[in-house]
Symmetry: C2
Subunit: 424 residues, 2 copies
Amino acid sequence: MKPYAQLTPAERAEEYARLQGEFESLKARGLSLNMARGKPGKRQLDLVSDIFALMQKPEDYVSDGIDVRNYGEMAGLPAARRLFADILGCRPEQVFVGGNSSLQLMYDTICKAYTHGLLHSPRPWREEETIKWLCPAPGYDRHFKVTESFGFQLVVIPMTDDGPDMDAVEEAVKDPAVKGIWCVPKYSNPEGVIYSRETIRRLAALRPAAPDFTVMWDNAYCVHEFEGDYVPFPDILSLCAEAGNPDMVFEFASTSKITLPGAGVSCFACSEANMAHMEQLLIPQVISFDKVNQQRHVLYLKDKAHTLELMKKHAAVMGPKFRSVVDTLDKEIAPLDIASWRRPKGGYFVSFNAMPGTAKRTLALCKEAGVTMTSAGATFPYGKDPRDSNIRIAPSLPPVEELEQAMAVFCVCVKLAALEKLGA
Amino acid sequence: MKPYAQLTPAERAEEYARLQGEFESLKARGLSLNMARGKPGKRQLDLVSDIFALMQKPEDYVSDGIDVRNYGEMAGLPAARRLFADILGCRPEQVFVGGNSSLQLMYDTICKAYTHGLLHSPRPWREEETIKWLCPAPGYDRHFKVTESFGFQLVVIPMTDDGPDMDAVEEAVKDPAVKGIWCVPKYSNPEGVIYSRETIRRLAALRPAAPDFTVMWDNAYCVHEFEGDYVPFPDILSLCAEAGNPDMVFEFASTSKITLPGAGVSCFACSEANMAHMEQLLIPQVISFDKVNQQRHVLYLKDKAHTLELMKKHAAVMGPKFRSVVDTLDKEIAPLDIASWRRPKGGYFVSFNAMPGTAKRTLALCKEAGVTMTSAGATFPYGKDPRDSNIRIAPSLPPVEELEQAMAVFCVCVKLAALEKLGA
């Protein structure tokens, strides 16, 4: 098949008719498939369910002399803090281990800034006339929603192959109303991009006008390679400190996609000055998080090396799914020259750029044929993709055979929408 | 021994000298005992640690067709909602099951009112000039801290044998700046009082000036009898609804003192209209809470009847501790007519009223002798007991033999402080 743009109107009409037939027969199958969210699949859940076999012996209840079954240790079990410090490459004193959700920790950090102010805030953010927030896009919808829910103005920063467009970021932070930025530095959601060393260096060395400008560093996929070896990654806390910005960053991570989604352990990491400030604010809110589950994870994951071994097993499940998606796109869509995508080596998504103006239509067609995808626009602030192009594909949940069916539907819909746009 | 007030100065001096000798010999033992917080003791933790034996079979991972190991079900597992509804006497749709901490759910409710407003709020509370909050006292220090941390003005409401002084509450809520009240309706912290039917009826029937006045109904000890049978308790949600105040109350509970403190499951219960409003506000914050732990608790506790059987086992551990405390007070302090206390049948505390002006001195002496108690004043807003009298005794953590030592110290200190006050 030639690129669609090179087809004659008659050829396009013929192709469109052929695809419509294909679409109708796919629809007739009555599919109900979901590629909407980065949910691990059942095989991955089964892979780690031996974690429940732990905590059977009384000695398992005690960690560093602490009975993990009772109240206390607001900042988390020392052993859990050491585990995350090992994984993230920072120091245990910089780690606060929380509950089952890093999203909640992120929300809470923003909320505390809003209600009480961060360490270097002249006043709580609720008292600011305007708060602007930098959103590298395409990005993670749930990040954007957190800052939107507090009424911040979301500012789109273009994503590049190296991470956020740093020229745009450096320019934006000259505005004292700009209070922070969302970052997913490794296997960014949804682009799958690893921020380059230079991008990270420039981020750490920012000179923002706001004294309490905050980098929300969501290292959600820090050990989440599904292709090839573990990619070492610098410790953002040290880099910020070296650049004279020790308190500018909060890093987040969780085991949601290492052990169990929604039943894992999350953490934030920050300077010790930030930690003291946050602990002060957390005292009225928290007695302690679930240390039993923290201990379960310490016993299960042991350390970074052992965690990376487990991630190889996840990769064995995830890799084929991603290869199936990208191979299908390479085969079905690439020759038509109507879309672009990346071939990520980790993370949970494939970021697909449909022909501008066709993302919504593509997904409406998918839905008609029983395939649910993340809403078009979701990867942009306010759910509005100015080019109506980006689609986040989440291949992790369905088994490979369902994924293949879903991708068959998706490809037909991408083509139909493109042909409609070109005038079929 | 006669009441201290009836002793001659010489007799008091003699008694004081004798007690000083006793105090010195207790001090010489180098004790390190803690009666500060309502932490369950090790025997209670051991009693429930068979909960870890659950979740071993694949069928345990599925509840109502939901794989509890994956994301989803923000409001909690349906089975967990049914369990709490059974315990609290409300309907499952009225229950939101959260994470390990009801305190966090309470904080979050107040925080949401502050940042975004409750269902009937004319505006977010952060925009109100003044917020006043009713604090029945003696009460729970952590409650008071939550509302204090948002800058609310804490208003003391006297506690009576029937619960908060309802004349004072009814008068206070005429002020539209009064936005709510903290309540621990069963075995109140620290008084151990069960609110009377009439108190509860009057609370449910309040006609507050503030349209978003909120009763924070912390039913922390809803099934926590340690003496005698379970005391049935009315469902506050129905009572408020019947009185025309369906959205006025948020109820809270947790299994922290049923299964594991800090590793249990918490919930809030409210009207369905409140639930819809809260879910809307929670969407940016939460994907889901730990449903694995929810499922573990569903399998372990089964239903209210089975939960009450478990509570009998806790009672077998807790009862002797409380009897030891109160019997010691009856024997050592009652004849001296220098203090008063209640004999609770459930909950986690004994509320002790020392001779006015002696609570701080008593606890300073205790500390000198190696016994840590909740700080004097902690049971009042801002940590200030106007009479310097109330002391919260938390007998649950130490084993009985340690408790006896601690109480011996405590009684000597109570006496010394009283004699100093009387002029020894």
